[in-house]
Amino acid sequence: MDIARILVVDDDKEIVKAIEKFLSLAGYEVVKAYDGLEALDALVKNNIQLILLDVMMPKLDGLSTTLKIREKRNIPIIILSAKSEDSDKILGLSMGADDYVTKPFNPQELLARVKSQLRRYMFLGDMGNVARASQTIIGGLFLDTDTKQLTVDGEPVKLTATEYKIIELLMTNAGFVYSAEEIYERVWNEAAYSVENTVMVHIRRIREKIEINPKEPNYLKVVWGIGYKIEKH
């Protein structure tokens, strides 16, 4: 496969330069743009596999640019923004972005997210849209209950039996919130008493295997004071 080409868009030239530097260190090719219009232009002229997009930019802001791109293309878009509110993240993702990274970001984490998005893009391209009844796709997570196999962005994940059961329960019922007791009763098949810690330990381990940043999970979320869930994407 060709080397992936990534479009970096930000009105702050130093930031673009820094991102270019560590992306190229990681072996990617970088195309630069400094506002929304330039980005759209660069997208036409180059064969781009992924876009890193700032929100607050002159001429055309990041969200509008995302909408424009989504009219024609399905390539991964990662938004970079100084706005850290939940509502900003939800807005960005609902505009069609695939991921949302807040500034100031950890370069290593950004790199991991770029890799993840690229792999997912390629992998899902391979899979097409053919999903059998035994298969569940949520974002980059791909679960096959026949083979009892979970892949994240195409990479198989090694899970213990208990972890697999938890993931299966939460993925096949995505969006549904389960309390620790419910998870325990369904997975361990025992009456639950004071199991919050036990369940949470497993949840933490699963997160470390499937999340890029386990502290800010994308998939396996805690609903505080209620339970746990994997959100529908």
Partner: protein
């Protein structure tokens, strides 16, 4: 002046007065009359005059034939020239004449009397000319009556003396009690009893009521009973019967009780007079005082406009109100004057009042409009300032984060360069500090947002107990590394509240983080919760590993950290954020410091059960 002396004096006073009353009643029952003391001789007494009168009338009646001749203690001789009536054989005038102090006769229709005889009313009774009447009372009878009179006198004098002595002793003791009440031998202070707190008029009313009931009962008993039993025939002191003895016992007890209460109340009033609070501590005074203060307040409200200085609108309202009320008062006055003069001019003044009210309302309407305008203007300004503040926070945050992004990114790139070891150390320091700066900016932003009230909240019903368990489980790694033990005491039942789960997680995370960071190594952190009085109350207690030389208020202030020198991670905003978030989420956070014990209490109202 010891209390024993006082008690004895009190008992003596009660006994004396009771004796006086019982004696008085005894005197009434026995028909002891003051006349026995005043009149020495029976023949000078009124009783004798009544007797004499009666006797002479009897004689006249016999003479006129309306009464049959009869035997009697007195002597009489009646002759009309034809018939003669007498109860003695002596018909000579000289026989009767020897009793010169009791001798009365009729000749030629005229009454005459012996030279020592007292004038009797009966001598004005006219008799026909034909009658000759001689009348005299024998000395033996008079002597016997005098003996009885003397006996009554002696008894009456005894009773009178005992009453006098009792009254004097009683009054003396009362005077003594008046002097010593409220005083104690050990000091010169005035000691008031709890009873003296009762309003004076209440005490006085009670005293008078008891007295009135007593008097009324005494009147009913003494007079009605006395007349029922009275023997009219006996003009001297009568004997006492059993019923009257029982009554006397009853009167004694009843009076003693009444006297006890009245003396107690009376002494309380005396003490109040001594303490100069008789008048002040009375309902009437309080009432009058309230009224007078209301009146003075009324005039203060009416006239004192000092609080409106510097407030032109309300000052105008106040002045208008003053003019309105005083003019109205004048109009009412004139209305009454002309009504009393029965002149129809009085109708003019109510009309003037209507005009006045119209002007008043019109003026007020304009001023109110001005006030409304001013108020909405200042409100708008406030909103504008609020919006600017929020915009400022967002902009500053963005302006801080953008350069920080570059800094962090380039430090990361630097760390990948092939640098000498010392330079790598510097890069490491830069990396740590820039990460800390990132945390501070992020925390600062959260704090600013929550305290400016511009925070988006996602309220839902959740179980606070579960949330605490989740938080502790989530922080499991940190807790294990900390060499501290977490002791939990949570209820078995879910504790449901309505709040924002993510914010609550931040709150508890910050507080527990704080406890882990600043606790003395090897100690325990206590996380407890209970639902009490409709509230979910969670507490986190830990023993500080250093001396907490600050107050609970200081630690909640921004950027204040318990330990300024030792810790370099964290923003120092943890507790401030926790407090601010708690407020925003509808709860209350309180910090208590007791020696080395650091305690955070968070309370949320329980949500209604669905």
């Amino acid at each position: 002046m010891s209390s024993v002396t006082k008690a004895i004096a009190f008992i003596l006073a009660v006994v004396s007065f009771t004796v006086v009353i019982v004696q008085l009643q005894y005197a009434i029952f026995r028909d002891v009359d003051p006349k026995f003391l005043l009149v020495e001789e029976y023949k000078d007494s009124e009783d004798y005059m009544y007797y004499l009168n009666d006797a002479m009338q009897t004689v006249v009646s016999i003479a006129e034939g309306s009464v049959e001749p009869q035997d009697s203690e007195f002597y009489y001789y009646i002759s009309d020239g034809v018939k003669t009536y007498s109860n003695t054989k002596n018909t000579e005038k000289s026989f009767y004449e020897q009793y010169d102090s009791t001798f009365y006769w009729v000749e030629n229709g005229f009454w005459s009397r012996g030279k020592n005889a007292k004038p009797s009313l009966s001598i004005y009774t006219s008799l026909d000319n034909k009658y000759t009447v001689y009348f005299a009372i024998p000395d033996e009878f008079m002597t016997e009556m005098q003996k009885k009179w003397d006996k009554s006198r002696t008894e009456a004098l005894q009773i009178f003396l005992s009453i006098m002595i009792g009254a004097i002793v009683g009054l003396g003791i009362i005077i003594y009690l008046i002097i010593v009440t409220g005083r104690k031998s050990q000091d010169k202070e005035l000691h008031l009893s709890r009873m003296d707190d009762i309003y004076s008029d209440v005490l006085l009313f009670a005293m008078i009521s008891i007295f009135y009931i007593w008097i009324y009962t005494m009147y009913e008993i003494s007079y009605q009973y006395r007349y029922q039993l009275r023997d009219y025939g006996n003009i001297f002191i009568s004997e006492i019967d059993n019923n009257q003895i029982y009554l006397l016992i009853f009167i004694g007890i009843f009076s003693a009780v009444a006297i006890i209460f009245d003396i107690i109340i009376f002494l309380s009033l005396v003490r109040k007079i001594k303490a100069r609070k008789l008048i002040k501590n009375s309902i009437i005074y309080k009432f009058m005082h309230k009224i007078s203060s209301m009146i003075s307040e009324f005039f203060k409200y009416l006239i004192d406009g000092s609080m409106f200085k510097g407030y032109p609108f309300t000052k105008v309202l106040f002045n208008r109100q003053l003019i309105f009320i005083s003019t109205s008062a004048v109009l009412v006055f004139f209305t009454l004057v002309f009504i009393s003069m029965e002149s129809f001019i009085f109708l003019l003044f109510p009309m003037l009042e209507i005009v006045l009210i119209y002007l008043y309302l019109k003026g007020n309407k304009e001023t109110y409009a001005d006030i409304n305008k001013g108020f909405s203007e200042s409100l708008e300004e406030q909103m504008k300032a609020e919006r600017m503040k929020v915009a400022l926070i967002t902009n500053v945050s963005h302006d801080l984060k953008t350069p920080l992004t570059s800094i962090i990114s380039y430090i990361d790139l630097l760390s990948k360069e092939d640098l000498p070891e010392t330079s790598m150390d510097f890069v490491k320091i830069l990396s740590d500090k820039s990460n800390r700066l990132k945390n501070i900016v992020s925390d600062l932003f959260d704090l600013a947002k929550s305290s400016s009230g511009d925070m988006v909240l996602d309220f839902e019903n959740l179980d606070l107990k579960k949330l605490i368990e989740q938080t502790l489980a989530d922080m499991g790694d940190k807790i294990e590394q900390s060499e501290l033990q977490i002791k939990t005491k949570l209820p078995d039942q879910p504790v449901n509240i309505c709040s924002d789960g993510k914010k609550l997680y931040r709150i508890f995370q910050n507080i527990i983080d704080n406890a882990l960071k600043y606790s003395l190594t090897g100690t325990r952190v206590f996380v407890e919760m209970e639902d009490k009085n409709g509230k979910a109350i969670a507490t986190v207690k830990n023993i500080a590993g250093y001396e907490m030389n600050f107050t609970a208020d200081e630690i909640l202030q921004r950027f204040n950290r318990g330990d300024k020198s030792r810790t370099t991670e964290g923003s120092g905003l943890g507790l401030s954020i926790a407090e601010s978030f708690t407020k925003v989420c509808g709860g209350d956070l309180q910090v208590d410091i007791d020696g080395d014990l650091f305690k955070v209490t968070i309370s949320f109202p329980l949500s209604y059960k669905v």
